[in-house]
């Protein structure tokens, strides 16, 4: 009975989302106040309905209701309860339900938190969100219903969740990622609403900013989590694979990063507005494209968990309507936008424009690298595959100007900057960062490569520039200590964002240049030594988990003469799906990770063992976390909370 109720509330939510489009828009164009106000109520009701469906599906998973096909395929009674819960988004149907649920969550957040916006604008925004929700509801209900029953003959037990997904990282990675993906829908809706209204002003940028930043924060954390998960769970020791599914999440992130920067310019200086709108449309369009790529199976991927051509066609149709429609609207309406601000070549505006150009270039690289194999085949040139080397080369080229300009960007003034004035600070930054690079590599690098020097220098260049800029700003009017306290949240946000990027660059550089990977044959009692580390293979035991059996290899690790850690690497066989999984043993550290993965037992009783030494790999995820923290600070900035101030400014815009 319960699943039928879930199905019913899902259909109800679909109907409500349709009303959420029609009624508020009618209100806006006829001036009917009641209809305009209905937007918030309908959004709330729609949210409640879909929340109901989502909770029912989650509950059915918890109580092992295998009469539901989706649950029978993706869960098992031996699965621990938290994985039963995360199994809700373990496959196609459920992850789409999560998608619409989160869309409703963002919509209701907009409805409840936009008290200071004119009711008409809110109604437009909610109506646009309604369009997106309606499309996805139809998709779920028509092609991917999670509540379908196995009745009358249902299995006694389920087929279990894909073992790859039975992991803490995968409990939170998809919701985070989806919060980011779906979150860009708000920026999208604001942009469409502004285009419909024909009023793209600084107020629009100001309203969009915290929402865009929120989505960006989620996406940043989501991608970092995914990378971390791939690192420890897949047992390859890599942290990014340029896999189409990864690229699908990376593209909206690049567009989103460009967007948060250009929104800042649009808000503060009133320029780039038409470009900013286009970015807002692109960021969400790329999220949709990502969903399409992942869900349609058009691309060959390691992640190929679910694919179905009819679903692909449906999403593609939806994609064409939404993206095509919005771009057409853009073509018609954006010409009415006039940028008022003026700026010279040497100015912060120019540098932010450059930042956008480089980010978009990176985006195009990823887009082409992901789609070209497909296009290539389509135009009859045969099949090609664009792999890691292509992406790595392109990104190495792009990151150099990006980091160099990023470092100095915040030192530039709006409108006009005399280059003469910057000569001394730049020389200082250059000197300090070169020195830091030398010291850092002297301490941590066993040998030197050009790429290592370049990458480390770029990282320190940004760090030193950020520190110098904070110092300048703080001592502008006050003593350093007082000034530091007076810096606004937004300023800290920018500094942290850039600092996080620098830390990530250093992490990537060190990991890529100085990792050591050894595949060795070890018997119990033997040991191997490299990089001052000695790994001794103590013993092998077996272990019975809730839904798997495992062989556990125990290694004690010594650095020089000093014992530092005992590591236990597992090889698991999941009983239901008969799938073998490697649970690598990882000793994480601030400056290095030690990583052991058990291979197969060889005929002579010894084991194939993979041992990795990964310097600074934690920095690759620490960087994004710091960036995300910066984003959070910006959302918390007073400008986006204080009502009075906003009203004043909006008032001024109208005059």
């Amino acid at each position: 009975m319960l699943p039928e109720i879930g199905q019913f509330t899902l259909i109800l939510a679909c109907v409500l989302s349709f009303l959420q489009i029609v009624y508020p828009l009618y209100g806006v164009y006829s001036g009917h106040q009641g209809a305009i106000k209905s937007a918030k109520i309908l959004t709330t009701l729609q949210f409640l309905a879909v929340a109901c469906s989502f909770l029912i599906l989650a509950y059915s998973f918890l109580i092992n209701d295998f009469t539901v096909t989706y649950i029978a395929i993706n869960s098992n009674s031996a699965l621990p309860w938290y994985y039963r819960l995360s199994a809700v988004w373990g496959a196609h149907e459920g992850s789409l339900l999560l998608w619409v649920f989160l869309l409703a969550l963002w919509s209701i957040a907009v409805a409840l938190l936009s008290k200071r916006l004119p009711a008409e604008s809110v109604a437009r925004v909610l109506a646009v969100l309604g369009v997106l929700a309606f499309g996805f509801y139809l998709f779920v209900i028509l092609t991917s219903n999670p509540f379908e029953r196995t009745l009358p003959t249902f299995p006694i037990d389920g087929r279990d969740l894909n073992p790859l997904l039975q992991d803490f990282g995968l409990v939170i990675h998809p919701p985070m990622l989806y919060m980011g993906y779906v979150g860009f829908s708000v920026a999208f809706a604001f942009a469409i609403a502004a285009l419909l209204e024909g009023r793209l002003d600084s107020a629009w940028a100001k309203w969009s900013r915290p929402w865009t930043m929120a989505a960006w924060v989620f996406l940043t954390i989501g991608i970092a989590l995914g990378s971390w998960w791939a690192y420890y769970e897949l047992g390859w020791g890599g942290w990014w694979f340029w896999d189409p599914v990864e690229n699908a999440s990376f593209m909206p992130w690049l567009a989103g990063t460009a967007l948060i920067h250009s929104l800042a310019v649009s808000e503060k200086r009133g320029v780039f507005k038409s470009w900013t709108v286009l970015l807002a449309l692109s960021a969400f369009s790329l999220s949709l494209l990502g969903t399409f790529l992942v869900r349609s199976g058009v691309l060959v991927s390691v992640h190929a968990f679910a694919s179905d051509p009819t679903r692909g066609l449906f999403i593609l149709g939806f994609l064409v309507l939404v993206i095509g429609g919005s771009l057409l609207l853009y073509a018609v309406q954006a010409s009415k936008v006039k940028s008022r601000g003026r700026y010279q070549l040497a100015s912060r505006e120019s540098l932010l424009l450059l930042n956008n150009i480089l980010l978009i270039a990176a985006l195009i690289v990823v887009l082409l690298g992901t789609l070209l194999p497909l296009v290539h085949k389509e135009i009859g040139l045969g099949s090609i595959s664009i792999g890691e080397p292509f992406f790595n080369r392109m990104f190495t080229i792009l990151v150099v100007p990006f980091a160099l300009f990023l470092g100095v960007g915040s030192l530039f003034r709006w409108k006009r900057q005399s280059l003469e004035e910057l000569r001394k600070p730049l020389a200082l930054i250059l000197m300090v960062s070169v020195l830091s690079t030398i010291v850092f590599l002297f301490v941590f690098a066993p040998s030197l490569t050009w790429l290592a020097i370049l990458g480390t220098f770029l990282g320190f260049w940004v760090i030193v520039a950020v520190a110098y800029e904070i110092y300048l700003r703080a001592t502008h009017r006050h003593s350093f200590k007082v000034g530091l306290m007076k810096l606004g949240n937004s300023h800290w946000a920018m500094s942290l964002g850039h600092l996080g990027f620098a830390i990530m660059i250093i992490g990537i550089t060190m990991t890529q240049n100085y990792s050591i990977e050894k595949d060795v044959k070890l018997a119990v009692g033997e040991d191997i030594t490299f990089e001052q580390y000695n790994f001794h293979f103590d013993h092998v035991t077996s272990l019975q988990g809730q839904n798997y059996t495992a062989t556990v290899g125990t290694f004690s690790v010594k650095q020089g003469q000093q014992h530092i850690v005992v590591m236990k690497a597992e090889k698991r066989i999941y009983t239901v799906q008969r799938m073998a999984m490697t649970e690598a043993a990882i000793d994480a550290g601030f400056t290095r990770d030690l990583y052991i993965a058990m291979g197969e037992q060889l005929p002579d009783g010894a084991w194939a063992v993979r041992i990795y030494y990964k310097p600074f790999i934690r920095w690759i995820w620490l960087g994004p976390l710091i960036m995300a923290l910066g984003g959070l600070l910006m959302i918390g900035d007073r400008r986006y909370r204080s009502k009075k101030e906003t009203m004043k400014k909006v008032g001024a815009q109208h005059v």
Binding site: Y330, L371, L374
Partner: protein, 176 residues
């Protein structure tokens, strides 16, 4: 007042969408190939031997006897689980051709040395060329090919005793 330049994003998008739509509309979607390729010969190709770069194979290796074509890679955890069973099948005297898919040659050779090599012939498809033509959308996959080089069945996912007994054995034994 209308600015034609603003139409550029729209036009680019439409062209892109058309490219994405064609494979779906034509039904050449990878997951549909299951039925499309069955009953047809293995597409033509030239691939290197995994151990020896100078040795090359083409589609003629699939003629003469019935066999399995197994697609695998070292980055694929399921292949790892499957490998033991492939060795078992090879010991029973089945003729298995392996295709190493989008992988690193060194790693692949190490894998075969470590885990025992069940393949009579090992193809190295690092660009995924034959894989694309076969419509492989992940690893492992296994194709049943008869003595005339015609694909009779495609299995997606790992081979194990259960899958073999339930689905594949009957088809394999019926095959010429």
């Amino acid at each position: 007042m209308f600015n034609k330049k603003l139409l550029i994003p729209f036009v680019i998008f439409i062209i892109g969408a058309a490219f994405l739509a064609t494979p779906l509309l034509k039904g050449s979607d990878p997951s549909k190939l299951e039925s499309a390729l069955v009953g047809k010969a293995v597409p033509d190709f030239t691939l290197q031997d995994i151990y020896d770069e100078n040795k090359q194979y083409d589609a003629s290796i699939f003629k003469g006897q019935k066999m399995l074509l197994n697609v695998w890679a070292t980055w694929c955890p399921t292949c790892y689980a499957e490998h033991k069973y492939l060795n078992e099948l090879a010991n029973q005297g089945l003729y298995i051709v392996g295709m190493n898919y989008k992988d690193d040659r060194k790693k692949a050779i190490r894998w075969l040395n470590d885990l025992h090599d069940p393949y009579k012939i090992s193809l190295y498809d690092d660009s995924g060329m034959l894989g694309m033509d076969l419509g492989v959308y992940g690893a492992p996959e296994t194709f049943l090919i008869d003595s005339n080089g015609i694909i009779r069945y495609r299995h997606v996912g790992d081979l194990n005793q259960q899958v073999w007994d339930d689905k594949i054995k009957a088809i394999y034994e019926e095959m010429e």
